[in-house]
Structure formats: structure tokens, C-alpha cells
């Protein structure tokens, strides 16, 4: 139905930007889930705004919408390769970073948009990813291979 759209690279950039605009707007109006205080409030169990937004989005977006489209044969799921080992290890590192920075990669962009805490964070995240990108090999080091029975390649 939309194959011609998917193949139009330039139009896809515009669509991505417009979807991002809506995404940023929803993130902001959702009780401030782009706010450091709100995100940390969730981790400290003093503010449950984040969980309300995320669970609602998961139920509406994933459980209802995506699986309805899948059952109708409109879309097909293609899970990315990976393993529990790489997810857990990456998750430990990510979790510490998430709590220390106070944002995830999506909300930090929203925080920058509303002039929010830590404008420098916009420069920090790219710098952080470059550390990983600077590694020579695109797969985990040999000593860690046993944790990655299914590969553990880096993805999006």
C-alpha cells in the first residue's frame, strides 16, 4: 500500500521529521517526561508520570495497533538478532548512564527542545556514542563471546 513511500528516500526524511515533531510534542505535553525531575522522580518512585505515558503507549502502539496490523497481514515483524547476554550487559551499562544523565536518547532531544536542563547534554550524547563507534571491531570482544551465543551485533 505504501511501498512507493518507503522507497522515496527524500520523502522519508520529511516524514521522519514530521513524526519526530509530533513525538516531541507528545513527550512534552505528557506531563513533562522530557524533564529531568520527572524522569528521576520515576526512578525514585516519587512521580509515576513516565510509567503512565510508556505503558499507555505500549498498550496502544504495540499490543493493539501493531499486532492488529500483523494479524491482518499488513505488516510483518522482523526481530533483530541479539542475545540475552548482550542485552543484559548493555542494559546494565545503559541503566547506569540513564540514571546518571537523567534522560534517555529520545527524551534528551525533547529536553533540548524546551530549553531544558542541560543544553550541553545535546553535545554529550553524540560524544558518548563515538566512544563505542571508535572501537575497531563491530562485535563484542572475544573474551565476552560466551555471553553472546546468538551474535550480539550492534544495532539501531
Amino acid at each position: 500500500m505504501f511501498e512507493h513511500l518507503h522507497e522515496n528516500t527524500r520523502l522519508q526524511l520529511v516524514i521522519g521529521f514530521l513524526i519526530g515533531c509530533c513525538f516531541g510534542g507528545f513527550l512534552y505535553i505528557g506531563g513533562g517526561v522530557t524533564e529531568y525531575n520527572v524522569i528521576l522522580g520515576q526512578l525514585l518512585l516519587t512521580d509515576f508520570t513516565v510509567i503512565k505515558v510508556m505503558l499507555t503507549a505500549v498498550v496502544v502502539g504495540g499490543m493493539i495497533g501493531i499486532y492488529a496490523m500483523k494479524s491482518k497481514g499488513i505488516i510483518e515483524l522482523h526481530p533483530k538478532p541479539g542475545s540475552i547476554g548482550s542485552t543484559v550487559i548493555g542494559g546494565i551499562i545503559f541503566g547506569m548512564g540513564f540514571a546518571i544523565l537523567g534522560y534517555c536518547p529520545g527524551t534528551v532531544a525533547g529536553a533540548v527542545g524546551h530549553g531544558g536542563p542541560l543544553m550541553p547534554s545535546s553535545a554529550v550524547s553524540p560524544a558518548s556514542s563515538s566512544v563505542q563507534a571508535s572501537l575497531r571491531r563491530p562485535t563484542p570482544p572475544p573474551s565476552m563471546r560466551r555471553f553472546f551465543p546468538k551474535g550480539g551485533s550492534f544495532g539501531s
Binding site: 521522519g16 519526530g20 505528557g30 522522580g41 544523565l101 536518547p105 558518548s128
Partner: protein, 171 residues
């Protein structure tokens, strides 16, 4: 009762449908930062940057996800201006009240957090998947509660559709 979090959640959920249908993409952000760092690196190192194995797989260029992140910045900016919430704030109050309003300290802490988050994202194969993993061993962060991580962050990717857990392709 404040319904705005639920309204925003519905909006983001519907947006994920639109993203799948129109672009065949999940809503993901983390790789855009890596691509950006590659673009910056290319300014200084030129074509040597492209020789890195990582960038041969994820080329440092503006793609759909990069534009999504740019859109998030603009969308949040417009929403905050319209609702009167836009303001520059270098140190968030929760951080400031706890550790002091020192911009340099906040920047240093954020740098450490950003590096770890970037590493974790790439290691786990994506930001959303990394968030799932962080739900399991959250005890490593003594200031956090694992129940909260399990539900708030972990569940996000347990349905392989909303964010980076799966690539969806039309038949």
C-alpha cells in the same frame, strides 16, 4: 485526575502505527547520535572515519531516524513555547538541590552518564533493548528501585513493536 500522561501515551502509540505504515520504521533514537558523532569525526579525520567497521554498517549520514530526533527537538520546542513552558535551565532543581547548582559538575556528571548510555545502547543493540536489559540488573544502581525499572523502562521493549526491538516490514 490528570489525564495528560495517558493522552500523550495514546498519541505516541498511534504515532508508532504511522511510523510503521508510512516508513516501515520503529520509533528509535539512539543510532542517530552515533551517526552524528561520525559526521563530526569526519570533519577532523576525513575518509578514515568511514573505514571503521561500525560506520561501514551504520554510515554517518542523515537518515530517517536522524530526522526523527531533529523533529523531536523542534516538536518539544514548539509545544513548550505554545504552552508557555520554555525556559533555559542548566542545572535541574532535583540535581541542584542534592548536589549543588554547579554547572560544571552537572556537565561532568552528564558526560559520564552519556558515555555509559551510549555504550550500553550500542552493546545491547539499541537504546530500547538496552533499557529492557537495565530492568533486570537495576540493583547495580543503588539509587534506583528495580521494580520501577522493570515496569517503567523494561516493559517498553517487551512488546517488539513500539521502539527499537524489531524492524517491521510490509509484506
Amino acid at each position: 485526575m490528570d489525564w495528560t500522561p495517558y493522552i500523550a501515551g495514546v498519541g505516541i502509540g498511534v504515532l508508532s502505527w504511522v511510523a510503521f505504515l508510512l516508513s516501515n520504521k520503529p520509533l528509535g533514537c539512539s543510532t542517530a547520535y552515533t551517526r552524528t558523532s561520525g559526521m563530526i569525526e569526519r570533519i577532523f579525520r576525513g575518509k578514515k572515519t568511514d573505514e571503521k567497521p561500525y560506520y561501514q554498517t551504520f554510515a554517518p549520514l542523515v537518515d530517517w531516524e536522524w530526522m526523527l530526533v531533529a523533529g523531536v527537538v523542534l516538536g518539544a520546542f514548539v509545544a513548550s513555547v505554545m504552552l508557555g513552558g520554555f525556559s533555559f535551565e542548566w542545572v535541574p532543581t532535583l540535581f541542584g538541590d542534592t548536589f549543588g547548582y554547579d554547572t560544571g559538575l552537572r556537565l561532568a556528571v552528564a558526560l559520564v552518564g552519556g558515555i555509559l548510555m551510549g555504550l550500553g545502547s550500542r552493546w545491547a543493540g539499541g537504546g530500547a533493548r538496552a533499557a529492557t536489559g537495565s530492568a533486570v540488573p537495576s540493583a547495580c544502581d543503588i539509587r534506583l528501585d528495580c521494580r520501577c525499572r522493570l515496569f517503567c523502562v523494561g516493559y517498553c521493549d517487551s512488546v517488539p513493536s513500539l521502539r527499537g526491538g524489531a524492524v517491521v516490514r510490509r509484506k
